[in-house]
Symmetry: C2
Subunit: 349 residues, 2 copies
DNA sequence: CGAAATTCTTGGAGCGCTCCAAAAAATGGT
DNA sequence: ACCATTTTTTGGAGCGCTCCAAGAATTTCG
C-alpha cells in the first residue's frame, strides 16, 4: 500500500504537498498538483489512509449502538421495536453527518467492544449489569443508557413502563376482564417458561429492569381491580419466539385477555389465534406494547401501550452527539386503543 | 487524556509493560500488574486508545454499508426492504464478529465518505453512477455493488428484476386484466410524477437500472398479451410517498390492476383503497415487489414478486468479508400469489 | 530592476500504540 | 556461590498522517 511519502517521492515533492493535493488542492499550484495526481495514479494510491488522520486528529465521526444484554445486532433488527429505535438513531446521525456503528457486544466480548469500538460516543442498551456502566465510563466518551436509570451522573432514557402496564390492565379490567395471561420476556435464549399460579418461583424480578417494572405495573393494575397477579399465569418467551401464542393458548385457555410486553409478542398471539380459529377480540383480547408501526397494521389493529420509539432513538443519539450535562429522561407512554381489545363476550369454542 | 506512557511513568514501568497489562496480563508479574492497574485507575486511564492500535495494526474490524443514490440511512431503515437488507447484513456481521457501519453518502459527500470510512470493506448501494465504482476501487478495499452489474472484475449482486416484472404482468393478464397502472419509483426527492399515455417523455430509462429493468419487464409482459406499455399510465413516487395511492386512483380510475415496484408502495395503495372504500382485489388488484415480511401481513395479504432480501444482505456481507475473486450474482425472484390479486370482477362504485 | 509582498512548498514533530530484539531479573541446579 | 535457564521488562522503531513555522519561489509594484 503506497503512502503519502511514496507518492511524494515519485512526484518529487514532499509528503505535505501530497497531503495538500488531496485535502486542500487549492493550495497547490495546478501544474504541481497534476504531477502529484499522476504519480498517485501510477502508484495506485487512492488518497490518504484514514488511519493516519485518525491518530492525528482523533475523531471517528461515528457513534456506536450496542444492544442490551446478550442480544446481537441482528436480533435488534428483527424486532419491530429495535428497527424503529435504530431508525430514530439513524435520523439524528443523518442530520449530524455521523456514521452509525452497530457494535456487537455478545456476552464476554461486551466490555472489550466498549474499549475498542471506533466511535466518539455510545448508545448502550442496558440490561442491568453494573459492569457495563463502569466499562463505558472508563472509555471517557459520552454515552447514554437505554431503559435503565443509572444515577444522576449518567445519561439515561427510559420509558415509564409501570404506568404503561397499569394503563393496559385498567383498560382491560374496565372492559370487564377478570381472567388474564401475562406474556413476559425471557431474556436468555431458550424455550418458553410457564409460571402457573401457586408455583414457587414467580418471575417478578427476573429480567431487565424494564420488565420488572412492567410486571409490577401489571400487579398494581390488577390489584386495583381486586385481582392478584399471583393468580395470573406468567409465560416468558424470547422476544420473537413464534411459539409464544401456542404456549399461551395451551396453558391458559381460560384467559379472556392477554397482556404482552411487546407488539411483536402480541402479533405472534394474533397469528396463533388465526391458526386456531380463535377470534380477537371476540374470544380473547390482546394488548401489545411499544406502539410500533406494525401494531397499526395487524388484523385486527392492536391496542397497545405506545411510546415514541423513533423519538427515543433520536434523542439518545442527540444526547451523545451534543454531550451536554447528564440527564435522566423518562419518556411517557400512552395507551392506544384499537381493535384487539373488547369486553369479554364469547367463550372459545 | 492519559496515555500508556503516562501510566507507565506513574507506575514506574515502561509503556510496553502497561500495554501488556491491558492486552496480555498473563505476561506481567501479578505484583507489578497491580501497581500498574492502580496507577491507571488513579489517572483515569481506561485502557489503550484504539486509535493507536489501529495505526499499528491496521484493521477496523468493520464493514460499511452505504445506501444507493442520495438516500440517507434513515430512509433505508424506513423501508421494509431496506430493513430486511440491513438485517441480512447484520446477520453475517454477527457471525463474523464484525461491526456494521452505516455510512451516510449524501450526494456530494459520497466519494469523501468512501475515502474516509473506517471500514475494511463496503457494501454499496448503486444507482448507476460510474464515479462510485472508481471511487471504491481507489480505496483498495473489498466491496460489492448492489443492484447493478459493474462488470466481471467487480463483486455485484442483483435480482432478476426483469423476470419478476414479467411474471407479475403474466399473472395479472392471465387473470384477465387489461387495464393497468404502473407505480414506479421516483429516485429524486419530490412529488409524484404522472406520465399519462401519449405524453412525450416516458420514463423508460429514468431511474436506477433496476427500475429500468423492471419497467422493461412490464413492457415485455404486456406485449405478450398484445398490450403496449405506451398505453399504460406510469406514476413515479418516492419510495414511501404516502400520497402514491391517491395519485394512482385519481389519475387512473379505470385501472383494474396496479403494478408496483415495492411492497411499501403496494401497502400505500392498500391503505388508500381502504380510505376510499375501494376493495382489493374485488375492485382492483395490487401487486407488490420484494416479498418482505410486511407483505404477508397486510389486509389482504399481498401478491408480490418475492426475493430473498435477507439472504441478499447476508451474501453481500459474506462477499466483502471473505474477499474472494469477484463474482456477479443474479438472484432469482419468485411470484408469490396471495390475496391482493384476482380476476377483475367489479367496477369501482 | 530590486525590494516587498504574496504564494507555495518543505520537513520536523508528534498523535498512541504494538512489536520485537535485547537487557534485566528471577529461578533452578549443582 | 555460580552459571544456565526461564521469566519479565524495556525502549527503539515505525505505523501514515496533518499541522505548522519557516524557507523558497514567484509576483507585484514603486
Amino acid at each position: 500500500m503506497p503512502t503519502l511519502a511514496d507518492v511524494g517521492k515519485a512526484a518529487g515533492v514532499s509528503r505535505g504537498t501530497v497531503s495538500n493535493v488531496f485535502n486542500r488542492p487549492e493550495l497547490v499550484r495546478p501544474e504541481l498538483r497534476q504531477r502529484v495526481e499522476a504519480a498517485a495514479r501510477a502508484l495506485g494510491f487512492g488518497g490518504p489512509d484514514p488511519k493516519g488522520r485518525l491518530l492525528r486528529d482523533g475523531k471517528f465521526n461515528a457513534i456506536g449502538f450496542m444492544p442490551p444484554g446478550a442480544y446481537a445486532i441482528a436480533e435488534v433488527m428483527r424486532s419491530p421495536y429495535g428497527r424503529e429505535l435504530v431508525l430514530g438513531v439513524s435520523l439524528a446521525c443523518d442530520e449530524a453527518g455521523t456514521t452509525l456503528s452497530l457494535v456487537n457486544g455478545t456476552d464476554n466480548t461486551r466490555f472489550a467492544s466498549i474499549r475498542e469500538a471506533l466511535v466518539d460516543g455510545f448508545i448502550l442498551g442496558h440490561s442491568g449489569d453494573i459492569g457495563l456502566i463502569t466499562s463505558a465510563q472508563r472509555r471517557r466518551l459520552p454515552f447514554v443508557i437505554l431503559e435503565n436509570d443509572a444515577g444522576p451522573d449518567i445519561n439515561s432514557i427510559k420509558i415509564d413502563g409501570r404506568s404503561g402496564a397499569v394503563a393496559a390492565v385498567r383498560h382491560l379490567t374496565g372492559l370487564g376482564h377478570r381472567h388474564f395471561a401475562i406474556l413476559s420476556i425471557r431474556r436468555t435464549p431458550g424455550p418458553p417458561i410457564v409460571h402457573m399460579p401457586g408455583q414457587a418461583e414467580r418471575p417478578l424480578l427476573a429480567g431487565f429492569s424494564l420488565d420488572d417494572e412492567r410486571l409490577d405495573g401489571f400487579k398494581q393494575g390488577l390489584a386495583e381491580a381486586n385481582l392478584s397477579i399471583d393468580d395470573v399465569p406468567i409465560i416468558e418467551t424470547t422476544p420473537g419466539d413464534p411459539s409464544a401464542g401456542a404456549v399461551v393458548f395451551d396453558n391458559v385457555p381460560e384467559a379472556t385477555a392477554i397482556l404482552t410486553m411487546s407488539d411483536w409478542q402480541a402479533i405472534t398471539i394474533l397469528d396463533e389465534a388465526v391458526r386456531r380459529g380463535i377470534e380477537v377480540p371476540r374470544h380473547v383480547s390482546v394488548i401489545g406494547f411499544d406502539g410500533t408501526a406494525e401494531s397499526a397494521r395487524t388484523t385486527p389493529p392492536l391496542t397497545t401501550v405506545a411510546q415514541d420509539v423513533i423519538g427515543k432513538g433520536r434523542l439518545a443519539a442527540r444526547m451523545v452527539l451534543d454531550n451536554q450535562p447528564p440527564r435522566q429522561v423518562v419518556l411517557p407512554v400512552e395507551l392506544v386503543v384499537r381493535a384487539s381489545t373488547a369486553a369479554p363476550r364469547a367463550k372459545i369454542r
